[in-house]
């Protein structure tokens, strides 16, 4: 099978190009394995990857126009020729490797950690199974950036709009019955950009490889803000 891969090496190339590789297709082959086969032919080809099972979030890339994790994308399901590009909207460091720093910065901006004000109990903080269920669909995020780099609002304002991944985490802590910083969290999200640049385009939902729904989380934050303001 043929795979066309985006190549750009800042030390050698004036501009990026697509390079075509021939890879022998194996039954059940995932795109990551196909890219490793390319890497074995041409060691100068660079991409991030690690766990190979969709939990580390390293190998997000744009495949045939859609953001995916290479390790859980079966090549058999992909239209030919397969075209692989870096995640859109991020500066390219080399080949499929993009600069993720703004994405991480937005994540860190939402205070993505549990805040408790009361003294801690000697044992666990109790949480009912129903309250714990509210975290399902939120805590599983692997920070692969498929969502935020598919979001037009994030493309235009990556420095001001938190983006779907970070906002999903903002809601993950607002939704946690153990967290005691709801007001501060909501105050910090005020303003025209951080939260409100979401125009419910829902690209994030479509591409999330873990089946999470940032748009819904953003809606919940907006609802809570409204509720608090009345």
């Amino acid at each position: 099978m043929q795979i066309q891969v985006y190549r750009y090496h800042p030390e050698q190339d004036a501009k990026p190009r697509m390079q075509t590789y021939e890879v022998e297709e194996q039954p059940g082959m995932m795109l990551r394995e196909a890219l490793l086969a390319i890497k074995a032919q041409d060691e100068s080809f660079a991409f991030r990857h690690s766990c190979g099972e969709g939990v580390c979030g390293s190998d997000a890339m744009n495949v045939n126009g859609s953001n995916k994790l290479a390790c859980i994308t079966a090549v058999a399901d992909l239209k030919r020729p397969i075209q692989v590009r870096p995640l859109p909207g991020r500066p390219v460091i080399r080949d499929l490797v993009v600069d993720m720093s703004q994405f991480y910065e937005q994540y860190r901006n939402v205070q993505p950690y549990l805040i408790r004000k009361e003294p801690l109990p000697e044992q666990e903080i109790r949480q009912s199974p129903a309250d714990r269920d509210k975290l399902d669909g939120l805590y599983e995020c692997i920070l692969c950036a498929c969502c935020s780099t598919a979001c037009p609002s994030f493309w235009w304002n990556p420095d001001k709009f938190h983006g779907p991944a970070a906002l999903l985490q903002a809601w993950r802590f607002l939704a946690d019955s153990r967290d005691q910083a709801t007001d501060e969290r909501l105050d910090a999200l005020e303003g025209p950009y951080k939260l409100f640049r979401c125009h419910t385009i829902m690209n994030c939902v479509e591409v999330c490889p873990k089946g999470l729904n940032p748009t819904k989380a953003i809606g919940h934050i907006k609802d809570l803000m409204l509720e608090k303001s009345i």
Binding site: Q12, S50, E53, I125
Partner: protein, 587 residues
């Protein structure tokens, strides 16, 4: 070439659970701490841990840290150090509560307490009924813990060097660890990080085997750095093959699947563990289950057209239990096998999973080496924790759920001891050019140009070699041949050349540096295995089928210099309780 220097109080190499828990302890105490990781922290392999972390919370059934200790000592096949095991099992309880307070989204019981499930090798009352000791966040416990620890480090403003690769430790004339040479992957620029104390927390080395549950990044970097710094590796022959890796592919299916009631069947549909472990059945220790599976297959009762695997059956549990308690493995089965585990059994085979051995430390996570006078001494300023270390709490076989526990307890212990060490040694020791030279030389070696084999070819040969010669069942003939082949392969590495010498995000260079590490830890494994003439825990010798406490109840030490083997006694004396003397190990 002049290399820039940065100075920190403490340097932590590796950002998995051990590194991040140590960093959190240090940063919360306002130390200047640098965490170097070759991947963004949440991509460290702790993220893939599924089933849970053991602590005798007694949330479901009665439990006691002392019972946990007994199970761990027995599980280790009496090779674990009982002082460290007592410490770990006691500390487990406050450690899990601390994690929960930090935000880990543990699954919950109806009363709001942390959900616990049964895991292999667990018992109540020193070998009685099955215990329920493994605290879980569905089957994504490692992910939940790693992300929480990273988040707390964001709060504590830990200084991260993301996507920096550690080349080698730097030690001064007196052997004190004074930092490391690292490489910024994005720019290809080397950097010296000077530190008063250095913690190795680089995880395991499953990539040395062809089929493994481990990630691409698990290449034994810290262990090999220790070897090159003259520190021997301990108990490297004890490598755990997890019973339930997806056959032929290697993805992990958590032991929690059996903890929730799943069991293994052969081609006759027989629940064969009834014959091997009549009481514990499928929740016998991992080494026992893995051997039973391979025996079934060798005797012709494997499943599939090639009769080369067995089946893990979950379909009797119902979709609610499978999908709610095991959502992660449901995903893995759907994506990689195209099946729903609530309806069809999963083809499984024992898969290279976890290193019980590693860098020898004491229970304060201080690296210890054999000394000329007395049994051993501490390497000043050098620490190790997590899978790269050998405390030893796992001995010859690790229990499921004790790995996350190990990284958390000893990561924290390292942080605590580093605080004291830095207080007593408040100044950076001088670093001379000559101290950096060996590390710089290792980096420069890969600048050699010309024709030669590729990294990928030699790495593939190494992984095949280790699988063929150092698997679940071992004997002298296979391992001796393996050692000879590996010595030849080590020679071949000298002739490997990079074709790409560019600077920017050159992953080929990183993989070459990792290959050096894999060869070193592979040799440590094979040599240690060849020399141990008994069967104990995960080390099963067909030619020496019995455990031999008289001769072999001792830790192996492999030194890179001359491929030497040495030994040291097991610490059988716990901190406060009576010692558990070796007994026949029956499940």
């Amino acid at each position: 070439m002049s290399i820039p220097h940065r100075k920190f109080d403490a340097l932590i190499i590796g950002a998995g659970g051990a590194g991040l828990n140590a960093a959190l302890r240090l940063a919360s105490a306002d130390l200047r701490v640098a965490v170097v990781s070759k991947v963004f922290p949440t991509r460290s392999h702790t993220v893939a841990a599924q089933g849970g972390v053991n602590a005798a919370l007694a949330n479901v059934l009665p439990d006691d840290w002392h019972w946990h200790m007994f199970d761990t000592v027995k599980g280790s096949d009496y090779l674990g150090d009982q002082d460290a095991i007592e410490y770990m099992c006691r500390e487990a309880i406050p450690t899990v509560y601390e994690l929960e307070h930090a935000g880990v989204p543990f699954s919950r019981l109806d009363d709001g307490k942390i959900y616990q499930r049964a895991f292999g090798g667990q018992s109540q009352n020193f070998g009685g009924e099955q215990a329920v000791r493994t605290c879980a966040a569905a089957d994504r416990t490692g992910h939940a813990i790693l992300h929480t620890l990273y988040q707390q480090n964001v709060r504590a403003r830990t200084h991260f060097f993301d996507e920096f690769f550690a080349i080698d430790l730097i030690r001064d004339e007196e052997g004190v660890a004074i930092g490391a040479l690292v490489l910024e992957i994005e720019t290809g620029q080397p950097l010296v990080i000077e530190a008063k104390a250095t913690l190795l927390a680089t995880g395991g080395y499953g990539q040395v085997f062809r089929t493994t549950t481990n990630a691409f990044i698990n290449t034994g970097d810290g262990m090999a750095m220790a070897l090159r710094a003259g520190v021997p590796l301990m108990d490297m022959e004890f490598y755990q093959f997890h019973p339930t890796g997806v056959a032929g592919k290697g993805m992990l299916i958590t032991e929690g699947a059996r903890g929730e009631g799943g069991y293994l069947i052969n081609c006759d549909g027989e629940r064969f563990m009834e014959r091997y472990a009549p009481r514990a059945l499928d929740l016998a220790s991992r080494d026992v289950v893995a051997r039973s599976m391979v025996t079934e297959i060798r005797e012709g009762r494997g499943c599939g057209p090639h009769k080369d695997h067995v089946m893990l059956k979950l379909d009797h549990l119902g979709a609610e239990v499978v999908h709610h308690r095991l959502p992660g493995i449901t995903d893995i089965c759907r994506v990689f096998l195209g099946i729903d585990p609530a309806e069809q059994p999963i083809p499984v085979f024992p898969t290279a999973h976890y290193a019980m051995g590693g860098i020898p430390t004491d229970r304060f996570a201080r690296v210890v080496t054999p000394a000329r006078h007395g049994p051993e001494e501490v390497v000043p300023g050098l620490y190790a924790a997590g899978e790269c270390a050998c405390v030893s709490v796992h001995g010859a076989n690790r229990l499921g759920g004790n790995s996350l526990l190990d990284i958390l307890v000893f990561g924290r212990a390292a942080g605590t001891d580093i605080l004291d060490y830095v207080r007593e040694n408040p100044n950076h020791r001088p670093m001379r050019e000559a101290d950096i030279a060996p590390a710089a030389g290792r980096l420069a070696r890969w600048e050699r140009e010309g024709d030669g084999e590729s990294v990928a070819e030699v790495k593939a040969a190494l992984r095949k070699l280790m699988e063929d010669h150092c698997g679940v069942f071992r004997d002298d003939a296979h391992m001796s041949a393996g050692v000879e082949k590996l010595k030849a392969l080590r020679e071949r590495v000298e002739h490997v050349r990079l074709r790409d010498h560019s600077k920017t995000f050159n992953t080929a260079r990183i993989e070459a540096l990792e290959l050096d590490n894999l060869v070193d830890v592979g040799m440590a494994t094979l040599m240690s295995a060849l020399h141990r003439q008994e069967s104990r825990g995960a080390h099963s010798r067909v030619d020496h089928p019995d455990r031999d406490d008289e001769q072999w109840m001792k830790h192996s030490l492999y030194s890179r210099d001359g491929d030497r083997m040495d030994y040291k006694p097991v610490r059988t004396k716990p901190l406060t309780v009576e010692s558990f003397p070796p007994k026949a190990r029956v499940y």
